[in-house]
């Protein structure tokens, strides 16, 4: 690894892959850093190693990643797997650990393309062993072919829930039930966005086809579910919920939940990029221009980390950012940039047709965002409950950062990545304010694991 590159891209998912290929083909020296051991990101995880049969079960959208990955492999991109970025600053100095060794490298341009994370949503019992994110279930399937052996209940709201159910169905997994927590009134809320979404009808068609397959296979789907509780002695044994006015209980050892995805902003936050609250996606996202430029010169963001748009949108946004960066680096002029970008810009627009409909349809209701039970753990690292957060607000700490200072929520191993949005929602609801009040948790690096020994190995020339 060199100590300096013209362009460093963080994340080898669709945005990072497409950007790296465009830039490398324009003669830019590109380092592509990725925390996984193989390229593809979450969506195309294990693309190069997955057996053909599993790839087929994962569906054609998954297999689309093959072209992106091989284009990167054939290009002159310096690709570094097993690389976790723990710091990025305004001077575009990047701290990373590659293969266990810490380094700091410089870049003229940086593209953050580290995607999305599942929206963690605290509900009673969500920290019990046996309760997992649907995304984690999907990772185990993609990377290792692991599926639940003794049946599974899927619960939540969002496209991934349906996709995973469909993938499991094809893998022969016994799905005990799908609990759809999407509120009925979301259908009405989404209706005005339907005409535009029909411009991207293949997405809607796919969703309907998955539903049909699941119904034909006799998978029980219960809709308009509320009051989800997981319970058990030391691990998950039962789940209870409200359906059609009745309280019901299911016995299960595995519950996979999904409540949509949100941009991973910890790196852009640590760098000091400006962020805004996105009301339609109910999350923080970086403020960007049409090329992906953040508020900091030379730091761009593309893909789901910029706001949820999906894999194909990420691919286009990655290319747009690459042309912009090539232009900033003097490889092409702005006319050339604009000409090259025309097609991707159009396709990106087309990709976004379906988004307002999906955002409205899968909008998480306030009753789920803000757990009503005071004993529900919100920060699982420090085991801070909703009640403790509310008590801090009642003492006059009316923004999330002050609540963090006082209660330690968000100060544990994950540094608030899991609980930041939940805390913001609870604080806002309790204080009668908007979740954007007071801003997100302040980004405090390292944003990925870094040991004292690794830190001590840096800058050996400096001593005092």
């Amino acid at each position: 690894m060199k100590t300096r590159y013209s362009l460093v891209i963080v994340g080898a998912g669709p945005a990072g892959l497409s950007a790296s290929v465009v830039a490398a083909n324009l003669g830019v020296d590109v380092a592509l850093l990725d925390e996984q051991r193989m390229p593809g990101g979450q969506i195309y995880r294990a693309m190069e190693s997955v057996p053909a049969e599993r790839a087929m079960r994962l569906g054609e959208e998954y297999q689309r990643g093959r072209g992106l990955v091989s284009a990167m492999r054939e290009s002159r991109v310096d690709y570094f797997p097993d690389s976790e970025v723990w710091s990025l600053n305004q001077r575009r100095e990047i701290g990373l650990v590659h293969a266990g060794v810490a380094r700091v490298i410089g870049a003229d341009q940086v593209l953050i393309a580290n995607g999305a994370m599942e929206r963690p949503l605290p509900f009673p019992g969500w920290t019990l062993p046996g309760v997992m994110n649907a995304g984690a279930g999907q990772i185990l399937f993609k990377a290792h072919g692991l599926v639940p052996a003794d049946g599974v209940v899927l619960a939540g709201s969002g496209p991934l829930l349906l996709l995973l159910a469909w993938q499991y169905l094809h893998a022969g997994v016994a799905i005990e039930a799908i609990l759809d927590l999407t509120p009925m009134h979301n259908h009405l809320r989404a209706l005005p966005h339907l005409p535009r979404a029909l411009l991207a009808r293949h997405y809607l068609g796919k969703g309907l086809a998955y539903k049909k397959d699941l119904k034909r296979a006799g998978v029980q789907t219960l809709r308009n579910i509320t009051d989800l509780h997981a319970a058990g002695d030391g691990r998950l044994e039962t789940i209870t919920f409200r359906h059609k006015g009745r309280r019901r209980t299911l016995a299960t050892q595995l519950l996979l939940t999904h409540f949509g995805v949100a941009p991973r902003i910890h790196l852009s936050q640590a760098a000091g990029c400006r962020h805004c609250w996105d009301d339609s996606q109910q999350c923080w996202r970086p403020l960007l221009d049409g090329w992906g430029n953040s508020s900091i010169d030379g730091i761009l963001i593309a893909g789901d980390g910029a706001g949820i748009g999906g894999a194909r949108a990420a691919e286009h946004a990655g290319r747009l950012a690459a042309w912009q960066m090539a232009c900033a680096l003097g490889r092409i002029d702005s006319d050339e940039r604009d000409r090259l970008a025309r097609d991707d810009r159009g396709w990106l627009r087309a990709e976004r047709h379906v988004r307002p409909f999906l955002d409205a349809f899968f909008r998480i209701p306030g009753s789920l965002l803000v757990t009503s039970r005071d004993d529900t753990i919100v920060c699982r690292c420090e085991e801070i409950t909703a009640g403790e957060i509310r008590a801090a607000v009642a003492q006059g700490h009316d923004d999330a950062n002050q609540v963090k200072f006082l209660t330690r929520c968000g100060m544990g191993a994950c540094q608030g990545r899991q609980c930041a949005a939940s805390v913001a929602h609870i604080v806002a609801a309790q204080g009668g304010k908007h979740p954007a009040n007071g801003g997100p948790f302040r980004g405090r690096p390292p944003v990925a694991p870094l040991t004292l020994g690794q830190l001590a190995s840096l800058y050996p020339e400096e001593s005092e």
């Binding site: 305004q90 003492q395 200072f405 302040r442 390292p446 040991t451 004292l452 830190l455």
Partner: protein, 370 residues
Amino acid sequence: MAARHADVLIIGGGLMGFSTALHLAKRDVSVIVVEKDSPGRHASGVNAGGLRRLNRHPAEIPLSVAAADIWRHIESLLGDDCGARFPGQIRVAESDADMRLLEERAALVRSLGYTHEEIIDRDELYQRVPALAPHCKGALMCRDDGYARPFHALTAFRHKACSLGVAHFPGTRVDGIERIADGWRLMTPKGEFRAPLLVNCAGAWAGHVAAVLDEPVPLRPGAPMLMISERLPPFVQPVLGAASRKLSFKQMGNGTLLIGGAHRAELDFAHQTTTLNWARLATSARTVMALFPQLDNVRIVRAWAGIEAFMPDDLPVIGASSVSPDAWHAFGFSAHGFQLSPIVGRILSELILDGGSDLPIEAFRIERFR
């Protein structure tokens, strides 16, 4: 909007501001605290929380000793223990030269009539800190020094002050300070505040206030960095420093290690933003590894910097204005003000209400920068 009135206006909702407010309110003075951000947003809330008399500048020793008495019974003052613990603070000697320095220091403190700083020999050092690397020679120790949790302390001061009637206006930036016939007027986006008396506890921003009062000071804002580790099983009780290295090291009650050492971040003061300097933090990590090599694989979970006021002589400004008979200052604590905060509030309340204090504060006069 009608102006709000009080007897005393305090600019700065940090530890010094709320400690002063609390001590004034205890004597039935009405106080308004105006804070541009949230309470304790900067140095007060994010410092290392050291309760240290060890190695203070001689001028600070009487204040620090008096403050230690208050900290030991902080619950009786605030109704909250602020997470205060007193496992001692130790300054380690890594060489014979270090040891000589520490012995000279102990002699100096004794000559001033104090006994709180003691030399401990190698055996006692390793008995107290068995995990320490084997090369150390001995140490200087304050047996009942310790630490507290800064934001909790700030919150406790604020709650107590407010329970005694102090009015607190966070998110209220002072845009203008004006002398009026019967005292002072502060202009803020949230309206006007008026009082006969004014106190400047504005931390890193106190230089602005002093300049407006027509007594500029050579205050330099700085942003010392701290980092904290994952939780570890308990292995070190006292707070550790080193005689010839920049270090402040302690294991908190929850098992995390708090590592400081006065290494500074890059500061953009106008925007109130800091950029961590990893080269200096690497030095800090090497210092820790030299004393505790077994911590090699311990994960750092968070690093940050807080914005603090530094004076050229590293001594605070505490006392009356040199130009206005109805204004006072307490700022410039140069990264060692946390422990002093309860006594500084008391001193200011005495200066304001009694015209003087029993404690020697000559060295902290603002006139020294004329």
